[in-house]
Amino acid sequence: MLKFTCPYCGIEASETELAAGGEAHLKRYGPGSSEQDFEGYLFLRKNPKGVHLERWRHVMGCGKWFLAARHTATLEVFGTYSAQTHEPPAEIIENIRAKFPEWQA
């Protein structure tokens, strides 16, 4: 059972308090977008054996969505951060690159 620290209320929460929300930083494509862009937005998801940026909601706590950088195989969590951003904070990218210098978001 995974645990994450909610960046809003500061609680280290077990998975039972959280709801998973899939890949983070999706760009929304709306009316007028190409079939290809819309398909990518709606259906195509990264599935790395490696560091994954993902959405979690502290649903049984403060109710806030937050984002996490988690390695899908080692389960290492490189940090959690606000959902209200288009990319991870520099500090988290640094944490990831300390172990995976080649890593790209």
Binding site: M1, L2, Y29, P31, A73, E76, K99
Partner: protein
Amino acid sequence: MSTRLSTGGRLIDRAKPVSFQFNGRKMQGFQGDNLAAALLANGQVVMGRSFKYHRPRGVVASGAEEPNALVGLGEGGRFEPNQRATTTELFDGLTAISQNHWPSLDFDVGAVNSSLSRFLPAGFYYKTFIHPRAAWKHLFEPFIRKSAGLGKPSNPGDPDTYEHAYVHVDLLIVGGGIAGLQAALTAAKTDAKVLLLEQEAHWGGRAPVDGAEIDGVAAEEWIKNALQTLEAAPNVTLRKRCMGSGVYDHGYALAYERCTDHMPGAAGPRHRLWRIRAGQIITATGALERPLSFSGNDRPGVMLASALRDYIVNYGVSPGDRVVVVTNNDDAYRTALAVKDSGLTVACIIDARASADGPLPQACRDAGIRVETGKAIAGVGMKGKALKFVDICAQAGEGSVLETVGCDAVAMSGGWSPVVHLWSHCGGKLLWSEDNFHFYPDVTRFPTDHKGAQYVRTAGIASGAMLTHEVLGNASESAVAALEQLGHSAEAWRPSATGSEEGAMAPVWVMPQGASKAKKSKMWLDFQNDVKVSDVELAAQEGYQSVEHTKRYTTLGMATDQGKLSNINGLAVLSGALNQPIPQTGTTTFRPPYTPISMGVIAGPGTGKTFQPLRKTPMHGWHEANGADWEPVGQWRRPYCYTKSGESREAAVSREIRNTRDSLGLLDASTLGKILVTGPDAGKFLDMLYTNMMSTLKPGKCRYGLMCNENGFLMDDGVVARLDENSFLVHTTSGGADHMHAHMEDWLQCEWWDWKVYTANLTEQYAQIAVVGPNARKLLEKLGGMDVSKEAMAFMEHADGELAELPVRVYRISFSGELSYEIAVPANRGLELWEKIVEAGAEWNITPYGTEALHVMRAEKGFIMIGDETDGTVIPQDLNLSWAISKKKEDFLGKRAQARSHMASAERWKLVGLETIDGSVLPDGAYALAEGTNENGQRNTQGRVTSTYHSPTLGRGIAMGLVLHGPDRMGEVLKFNKVDGSAVEAKIVDPVFYDKDGEKQNV
């Protein structure tokens, strides 16, 4: 014949006899016995029958790994199948029955399977499923059904309670043998919070039986001292009868405590599930002895050498007067010495190795025990159900009998495998030892926690450390490493230990080495599931190479013991057949739980009323007192209808509808979702959520709206009321409130986070009462306090005010087609208003109605219901709701998706009304039949029923459905299938069956 010895037994108290029953027979044991020991003491060697062939089986092990001695325990509500006799502590009044036999344990009809065994080889089930089909149905299936099934299910009505305990610790140590104790002693010197678990009722594991000396004292003494130290340590918690069941992500672990199994009916929970979050975990889980694969190794009387030693030393029980020991290692010689020490006879030690000259074999020779090296067992002889002799042959040969040795018990040892289960649960990897011929943890490939650091370590034999001083040193070092990870400094030490020196073992996977096919078909690998050496070899011959596939094909290791005894032997045989090294074959995946845990403990206290929270509206008690026939709606309970004495459900629903349409009805609509959306950007936000325009709604007005997800599919519908410039009250379906609120928050927090909008789920803040029917206005006027006239409050308007001196918000909306007001009132005044309405409405015969009347009335009006007309694949256009989809808005959730070719297709099934020709009610979910069949030979279809009811208003069946080109086919008659294979005819009609012009609601 097994019996109780006159002396010995370190765990039993001979001063305390205990009575119990096995298959109705009264027996006697002693306090401290386990059931298997007590059965052996009573001469009961055969304890069960195997799963597939129903072969008679005796106990083979002495602990959690036991595959054979499974019994049904207890009676009535406490009956439990598949309990291992080896882990069942004896208590006064215990009742047990053996399993898998008919009519009796001694005589079993199903054992005929055994003589048919050449027709039931590996992959039998798969092969039989394929051909011929008729044979499966008429021949194999009835036969298998009769003989299959492990034990009987328990009875309903479990009288016991179960609980979950949550705990956070720094260091969890699983296993209370000398390694676990040493790890705990190391940690006790720090202030780390430590939890030490032992699955059995006794601490210390095997060391006292094996006779080691630690720090100059007997192991038993050392264990006693260690426990005293640990019990005195304020930072250490000790828990016995508590099995570490699984290790999970980020330091999570589960443990299963059997609190009162050994004293049924005692106060407190029967089992407790420990839900542990640990900073670090040490698994000191020991090792399991492996059987040897020789012909007849499953016969009652053949058991593991360590088990036979346990029965003598721990319980003072003799498994037989004349024992043959067969081995490939030195440890089994300890069993020979224990047999001899207890006054019984060792007929012979058969050692497959070419020579055996270590201290233990030497001690046996010095004690006058005959040792035969380079030998093997060629076969086991029985007289009736009793073991009589073994045939001895050369291990190197094909099994020519050199000598027959009389005996009534065989102790076998194929070496020891570390228990690496918990290490492996979260990704710890293994290495193969070419010295000890077992898998052991690869310390460089460990499970990692949230920091990417190691959080599971093994200690002692579980690490592959086989000698006592290595065990203790390794345990201490593992504890220090874990403590340092936690930020505590500690020091490892290695107590001195003697008495554990052993010579090298030899790998022996088949005995004798050149055994014939006939012999191999009598060598059991998996005792419980009846998988033999010949089955695994057949699987390899048929092309199975992956150990995971072979496992499933042969069922090796798939029984309740999860292959604890069989896995290594099985994959060694597979490796041999594939002619590849064992590490290349690898192991199957280790999955929790380590041994089965009860269903009761998984549920814990979450049964019956505490299974899930029950949500009650403020008027719940009134409904209950007035004949509510409850229906679950999400976590709510709503009255389906209110039945009067002697009235059927159908009659009640009809009465409620007629009274409402003719005069006056009332409905508790409090469960309706109510979400406040407020802020300067609230209108803009709702325009994105709803398919229609909400920002243009005027304060005081209501609008029906549809919400879709980004895939374009309908999620929810309901009425939006604009309260003021910045605020809207969104009504959702009863079941959808929480989900829709979460949906809003997702978009607000993660996509449009700069929009100034705030949402609050006010569902439980208000009670809501629908007053429905031609006399609704008269009733409100009688209550008095605000103007509810047609002029003051037109259809789809709302106003705040007072009714019957209560603060209310009144919405003039209708889901029934009648003149209708929905009155919201603060929840704590809900019952008061309800009762005032009931009292005032008496003159119009006011009738409370339930969800079924609500459904029927909305269907009569052709209103859709989320979850009936929609199923996650339906778009508003399918339901002819294009009028509620804004053409003006550039964007809303689902708009882009609804432009995809499949969504815009004219071939989508569309909503119509359906009327049976004969007036009957269409079956729910029935399909409209089309000509021909599809590629699977199934009848083609052209539509389906989504809602279907008897309409008391129209006196006939009415239905709605989705039909191909439906709206263009008015008047056409379709055939709908029924479960009995017949069909019923229905005509396509307008879905609005009642008051098509809406004259009744616009008054």
